[in-house]
């Protein structure tokens, strides 16, 4: 019968390590002290109860029937170790929570390292090239904003918002313009939305290449199954009726592409008035 005593002597030690570990976190203090209370007063009572039980049932006598003896030894084990097992499970759970927090922190650190810190390093290297520094900063800002503020759904590839923002980012980087992107609502991408995003990309590219102004506005709205996209610049404009035959961009890549999917594309422009390309597609199934 040495083992229950040994355990009874051991519990305060175990308790000591637990409360010592928890003493760093003040929040965890209250529940821990309750456990300490249990362990300080509890073991003695439990050992006495265990002995009383064993005695009553006769396990302590040599003639005890084995099965009953085993069952009651199990009960004794539970009485003695139950609270400790519960606290063990709890501390494992809190360790796991801490581990998850640590993983999240590491993920955040990794993300900042790959994005913001790299960009800052690049900016320091290219400090002489104002244009490129602005591009770097703007790209980083857009990426960080998306990572911080946008619902997960938008970050998942396959949302209209993600497709449009990606297109805008590509055109910004390729042609060095600033594109102000505003999207209201969102929806999963399908063939029509994909076509619309491609047409919008082409419209932004045209604005960047021909409008001779540094800024383009992109606006998209999803409403009751209809998607509308507007690409606008305040550049030099042109006469839409006189698009040269070799300028296939507007006819094929914008108007044709959208009309093939049952949509509508209109180019509003006049010399000196800037240009706005209006794209619309009904996504509700007919």
């Amino acid at each position: 019968m040495g083992s229950p005593r040994a355990v009874a002597r051991e519990t305060p030690t175990r308790d000591g390590t637990l409360s010592g570990g928890a003493s760093k976190g003040t929040v965890a203090g209250a529940p821990r002290s309750r456990w300490m209370f249990n362990f300080r007063l509890g073991p003695l009572l439990r050992v006495i109860a265990a002995f009383a039980l064993l005695h009553m049932v006769g396990v302590l006598h040599e003639d005890g029937r084995t099965l009953r003896g085993i069952a009651f030894l199990g009960l004794v084990f539970l009485i003695l170790f139950g609270p400790w097992l519960v606290s063990l499970v709890r501390s494992l759970a809190s360790e796991r929570a801490a581990l998850i927090r640590e993983q999240e922190r590491a993920e955040l650190a990794a993300h900042l390292h790959d994005s913001v810190l790299q960009t800052l390093a690049l900016i320091q290297k290219r400090v002489g090239d104002g244009h490129e520094v602005a591009q770097l900063a703007r790209r980083q800002e857009r990426e960080l904003r998306r990572w911080l503020f946008e619902p997960r759904s938008a970050q998942v590839e396959g949302s209209m918002r993600a497709a449009l923002e990606e297109a805008a980012a590509e055109v910004e980087e390729l042609h060095g313009v600033q594109i102000e992107t505003v999207v209201v609502g969102d929806m999963p991408i399908d063939d029509r939305v994909h076509a619309l995003a491609q047409a919008a990309r082409e419209a932004m590219t045209n604005a960047a290449k021909f409008a001779r102004c540094g800024r383009v506005d992109l606006y998209a709205e999803v409403d009751a199954g209809n998607v509308e996209v507007f690409v606008r610049d305040r550049g030099i404009g042109f006469d839409p009726a006189s698009i040269p035959a070799d300028r296939r961009g507007v006819r094929d890549s914008i108007i044709g592409r959208v009309e093939r999917h049952g949509g509508r594309a209109v180019v509003h422009s006049a010399p000196g008035e800037g240009t706005e390309v209006e794209l619309a597609i009904g996504t509700a199934q007919a």
């Binding site: 999963p188 506005d217 606006y219």
Partner: protein, 224 residues
Amino acid sequence: MSEASGHSRKRVVVVDDHDLFRAGVRAELGDAVEVLGDAGSVEEAVALILRTQPDVVLLDVHMPNGGGVEVIELVAPQLPSVRFLALSVSDAKDDVIAVIRAGARGYVTKTISSAELGDAIARVAEGDAVFSPRLAGFVLDAFARKSEPESADDAELNQLTPREREVLRHIARGYMYKEIAQRLGISVKTVEAHVSAVLRKLQLSSRHELSRWAVQRQLVSFDS
């Protein structure tokens, strides 16, 4: 509106927790306005604003120990004449809407050009609302069409009129007030009146979680 400079230079306080940014704004604004001072925390800002009583406060949405909302809530009861214009790099929709609901007259992003910023300050000082394309997008999202209005009283505050929606959509598309007036065949004053009405609805609307169901709406469209 274009008299930002000249005899009626607007008196401005800049509130932002980034020193570099405050210095940048001061430099950019140059002589267009009179910068009375700047502050990097809520307490500093409140003290400075109460002391100098500026026309317009350029207000960062986020700062340590509370952001623009706190500054407005602490100053507005004592100095109702001070106008606030939120100015920020990148914020979540809910935070921007919260600053507007607290009483800011507009929201512009930090990438705005110096001339546009000077113009925005002048407008806000006159009591007009200044909506950047991004704010217009946020507001359209927040007022996204609902399936059924709660009650007749709420409906008026919680919904935009077709005209207001049209004006906001034009702002989101990158049009200036003057251009919107031209396109819709109304006066610039009427455009301003529509924008101010939207601002008022945003501030008075009983729906405290305007933007929450905009998110729900988005989720719904993803489910279907």
